[in-house]
């Protein structure tokens, strides 16, 4: 189509704007990539000499290793709990009317607007008041509370799009409710469950603010370990960690994209 000068102007300014915005999004990661190879602990652009020493340091630093293990443990257990509770609640929410449903729903969804630091502080006070130790279970509890709304949301959305006829067909074929649940409902909800689990794991793995309130030295999560590192050392080790982190997350998303198509998972098409 022939374009008017205005169209050309729009096209070009659109392209430039898009490039600038994408640049803004990517800039920190590019800069961090460069910084991570800087041989000196002191920042300078462009770096005067290059080395991999910060990568070595990142891998050797004990707190990162421990934090990583903790975070993986917490994310795995927390996401499992959140999936069980969240999927069950989404089902109940979608299928039944019962008293206090609205109240229960607003309480469980409230972490979406309650700031994470408030949640962390609340549970810290609660556990102190109950003289419970600051164990890993406390951290897991906080994470479950925080990721639960996301799980409920994704499962609920797929339940809403779920074709009740499948269940009715199964019932008419003689399947009792539990059998319907296990052979029809659950298998068909897999995409929703996967996206719920993905959110739960990733959000839990990244959760920082609330965790900061409830962890101690032993239960330190990976993000808290990174935060402490920045507070204690002024060197680019964290840049190296960040680079590794970005690469892993991007790779993970690419894999998910390959199998599930992110556009679909996020409902943006």
């Amino acid at each position: 189509m022939k374009k008017s000068p205005l169209d050309h102007l729009l096209d070009w300014s659109g392209r430039i704007l898009l490039t600038l915005i994408l640049g803004f999004v990517l800039l920190p990661f590019i800069v961090v990539l460069i910084a991570s190879f800087n041989d000196s602990a002191i920042l300078s652009f462009p770096p005067k000499s290059w080395s991999l020493r910060w990568y070595a340091n990142a891998i050797e630093y004990r707190d990162f290793g421990k934090g990583l293990v903790n975070s993986l443990k917490i994310a795995a257990i927390g996401a499992t709990f959140a999936m069980i509770a969240g999927a069950g609640f989404a089902y109940v929410l979608n299928r039944y009317e019962f008293s206090l449903k609205t109240l229960l729903n607003s309480i469980l969804m409230s972490p979406l607007i309650i700031p994470n630091f408030t949640i962390g502080l609340g549970l810290l006070i609660l556990s102190t008041a109950a003289s419970l130790p600051r164990s890993i279970w406390l951290v897991i509890g906080v994470h479950v509370i925080i990721v639960l709304p996301f799980v409920v949301r994704s499962v609920y959305v797929s339940l809403q799009n779920f074709e009740r006829r499948y269940e009715q067909a199964a019932e008419s074929l003689g399947a009792a409710p539990l059998r319907v649940l296990l052979t029809i409902t659950l298998p068909l909800l897999v995409p929703g469950l996967v996206s719920g689990a993905l959110f739960a794991v990733i959000l839990s793995f990244n959760e920082f603010t609330a965790s900061l309130f409830v962890v101690n030295q032993r239960t330190q999560t990976f993000p808290v370990a990174m935060y402490n590192y920045v507070r204690e050392y002024a060197d680019p080790t964290l840049a190296a960690v960040s680079v590794i982190y970005v690469i892993v997350v991007a790779a993970l998303l690419l894999v998910v994209h390959k199998f599930f198509r992110l556009e679909k998972v996020l409902n943006v098409e």
Binding site: L18, F29, V32, L112, I114, P115, F117, L148, V230
Partner: protein
């Protein structure tokens, strides 16, 4: 007929969690009404003193800072996020669409620390931006981003951008393309189509995205803490400081409580205002 199979079993775990949430909330309310005994972790008797303490300038300033941060962050995130979402939904090539999606999404899953740290390196006095500007001779003294509102807002915009983009893209992608085509066939050019059709129909998405951006910014801790460096105090940094530097949990609790009520109030005002706006603007089906 079993009318509600599984109700009990499926609801049980979430009921327990709801009890946990409610209990911690009650704990906060309770603590906010207790006196602080210096050097002790157990709170004293009931008092309203914590709330009067909050009238002090430091805390007031933190509230003002937080609101300003939320406000500017929301505005800039929208301004930057809308074009990005639009491009993500409307780009002609599927590859470009996927690329934009992936680029916008990756930061969402990086967490606060990695992103904030990265911005420190970008914005510092010897950071990338200043180094680049000085080397090209555009400036001769570094621009201060660190420990300023500007710096915190830049990092926070980057922090909230992905979620806003995803929400806006969801809204935009659900606008019927035929509506835009109809407008075009009626003689409207691209700008007009956007202003009279696309934009009004994406208002619900804008609303949802803005409230989410607000809640996220309000909740952000690492970014104002690390980039604000104590110069830009927000409610979240104060709560941590009051709680963990002086272990004044009652004051931290009352600060949290007021902050929470404040968030709810803002979101409520926002939603009613928007509902009115929607009534004027209509909604997409």
């Amino acid at each position: 007929m079993t009318k509600r199979p599984f109700l009990g079993w499926f609801a049980l775990p979430s009921v327990l969690i709801a009890f946990g949430i409610a209990a911690s909330f009650i704990a906060i309310v309770q603590y906010s009404l207790r006196a602080y005994i210096p050097g002790s972790l157990d709170p004293g008797g009931f008092t309203l003193e914590n709330f009067t303490t909050l009238w002090k300038a430091v805390y007031g300033q933190a509230f003002v800072n937080t609101v300003l941060l939320c406000f500017w962050t929301a505005i800039f995130t929208l301004l930057i996020g809308y074009p990005l979402a639009y491009a993500m939904v409307r780009a002609k090539s599927a590859k470009l669409r996927s690329a934009i999606l992936l680029i916008s999404l990756t930061p969402l899953f990086l967490g606060e620390i990695v992103r904030t740290y990265s911005w420190i390196i970008v914005l510092g006095n010897r950071g990338f931006v200043n180094a680049a500007l000085m080397q090209t001779g555009l400036i001769d003294a570094p621009i201060n981003f660190m420990f300023t509102m500007t710096g915190v807002v830049i990092a926070l915009v980057h922090f909230t951008l992905p979620i806003v983009v995803v929400m806006l893209a969801a809204a935009l992608s659900h606008i019927d393309r035929n509506l835009e085509r109809a407008a075009t066939s009626l003689g409207a050019g691209r700008v007009r189509v956007f202003a009279t059709v696309t934009l009004p129909l994406s208002i619900p998405g804008i609303v949802a995205a803005t409230s989410t951006a607000f809640a996220w910014t309000f909740s952000a801790f690492a970014t104002p803490q690390m980039i604000g460096g104590g110069k830009v105090q927000t409610i979240s940094t104060l709560v941590y400081q009051v709680g963990f530097a002086s272990f004044n949990f009652p004051l931290a609790a009352s600060l949290s409580l007021v902050g929470l009520l404040f968030t709810i109030a803002v979101l409520a005002i926002f939603n009613t205002g928007i509902r009115r706006l929607e009534k004027i603007g209509g909604h997409s089906q």
